[in-house]
Subunit: 356 residues, 2 copies
């Protein structure tokens, strides 16, 4: 640490991304990414004359991308904010709307970045415990009197709240901002985007890193009432107007326009999710009912940490969270059938050797 | 503005990027970009198998890119921080090292973002006037007792301070952080990067948007003592760990490894800069001696604002700053010979019509 670091950051606990070891080839199921290709239209863009214009700045308004998103969700471009991954979108939301006088609430078990942002920006953040069965305690959130940030479906549980429950929180207080992070919504769930037409205190955040197979391009966006979007664009122009490269705008637009392709990919993930869940249950695992592109599993005998290490030795990366309540669960990203068969085979082998 | 926007941002004045009008084709000389292609190696990457891995997150440490930068400048990767454009690099520097107790100084005439950052983050920022002749008043900066942020060469003047003057500021107080933004250093100037070996209070910021012909990929970096770099990486991990897409890391690395190519491009810019400066002087303009990829010009009769508008009508975009002291100057980016000839022809025509 240098002597110049601000006092308030001396105890910062940065977010820890999934590991990216380089010692060998792994089947990478630890960061809810995918080995599936993005839409073929993405590759058309890469081969196009547009890539000859890399000497010029991208459109800071990213209008082309926002128009494509607006069309998909039947809103207007001025109801869409686009940024460098949903992390930047969330960062701009935190910067614009919360300060040291704000009180926010998020679940104790959820995406780790909500807490990191609250700490980074000196915001009073409270973790509201999930219920015993790992579902979100909607009444506790409403009773908290705080702004709310929730992943729905939630991670790493994979559970989802119905849109009616989201609406209950949003409608409970028009002075409460409700941020719903729908990173995993495309794996068989209903989006709450239509509620943004009715309420001016709801922001729905999406990412193209999951169902659009574009984690490497890092594109996120949110949809909300246009006054909120105007504020977010103002923040972006005060911070990093060109944070979306022209490459990301171009491939993001191409992918957004090819809904048929991503729906096919999501359907395949849902199928593989059912396959892996069933196979692991047969091997004695408890598998939480997933609504996402990962499953969260627990074995009655083998500890999750041990299971993770043995899978890693077998060339398969998964994600373990050393956190109270979930420290005997393992998160496994859903991939292709070949990848899922590798998980099943490795698991069978690990359990057999442990029993021997 | 929504009712949720934080009080402190209600009077924010966001940075205004160069315009990007879409009504017709323009010769774009208003944002110090370039119509020249990036290195051919960039296109090799775009055609490579790497683009099949877009479903995976990029390396948040961007080690490949940092290694290439370290090699070029004879430092180590832990002395290099890479980010989403020099704007993000500057943003992380402001966030990490300055707070409401910090006092910083920047020139009254310089890159507009320094002031925007100071305002955005609630930092006490002061503009120290350039001298009458538009050179930086080094003694005033030293006497200010403040942290210093300077573009060198400066924009939009195009003037440069010798490295010995930078060292004088850095050496004046080891508790003062000195940030030197060398966005335009590659157009015939000496970098002060070697000073980072000697001083622990100097950060040198670079961009690949200018001399590397990669504005559309938006890559920036800085070089400093490794304790400062460690702090910046900590901030990045608390804010947006994946802000550099895999595309930007890949093409940035390819471009950084092809120094021969960019040196050729910079030499061409220097040649065209001499050509345009000479031609405009022949037409009666005062042209400040430029050390960058733009010139800053003033005409004794035609007002800069009028000149800008008439160039725009002729299909050429340039940048006018409605700011005290420089509101009768125009900034023109240096481009290819063809583009420069178009500027000369249009200018000749504009002056002739005005005289008629």
């Amino acid at each position: 640490m240098s002597k110049f670091l601000c006092e308030k950051y001396k105890n910062l606990e940065p977010y820890v991304p999934g590991e990216q070891p380089k010692d060998r080839e792994y089947i990478k199921l630890n960061a809810n990414e995918t080995s599936m290709l993005p839409s073929p239209r993405v590759y058309e863009v890469l081969r196009s004359g547009r890539m000859k214009r890399l000497g010029f700045y991208a459109d800071p308004d990213a209008l082309e991308l926002r128009n494509a998103i607006a069309e998909k969700y039947e809103v207007t471009a001025d109801e869409v904010f686009a940024g460098n991954g949903s992390d930047e979108v969330l960062g701009m939301i935190f910067l614009a709307f919360f300060d040291e006088h704000s009180k926010i609430a998020y679940p104790d078990i959820s995406y780790g970045f909500y807490k990191v942002f609250a700490k980074s920006f000196g915001i009073d953040g409270t973790a509201i415990p999930l219920k015993e069965d790992f579902t979100v305690d909607v009444d506790a959130f409403i009773a908290s009197g705080r702004h709310i940030i929730l992943a729905n479906p939630n991670a790493p549980t994979g559970y989802v709240l119905p849109v009616s429950e989201i609406e209950r929180m949003v409608a409970s207080d028009e002075n409460r901002l409700v941020i719903i992070d729908e990173a995993y919504v495309d794996y068989g769930n209903e989006t709450c985007i239509p509620l943004t037409k009715k309420y001016k205190n709801l922001i729905v955040v999406h990412t193209m890193s999951k169902s659009r197979n574009l984690a490497g391009a890092h594109i996120g966006y949110c949809i909300a009432d246009k006054e909120l979007i105007k504020d977010l664009n103002g923040m972006k122009y005060s911070f990093n107007p060109f944070s979306l490269s022209d490459f990301s705008i171009a491939v993001g637009t191409a992918a957004m326009k090819d809904s048929a392709y991503y729906e096919e990919c999501a359907a395949m993930i849902i199928e593989e999710r059912a396959y892996l869940s069933e196979e692991l249950r047969k091997l004695g695992f408890e598998v939480l009912e997933s609504h996402t592109n990962f499953i969260f599993v627990h074995h009655p005998v083998m500890h999750a940490k041990e299971y993770q290490e043995k899978l890693k030795n077998a060339g398969i990366l998964t994600r373990y969270f050393p956190q109270e309540r979930i420290d005997n669960y393992l998160r496994i990203t859903i991939g292709t059938r070949e990848e899922m068969e590798a998980v099943v085979a490795a698991t069978r082998d690990i359990l057999q050797k442990a029993a021997a």
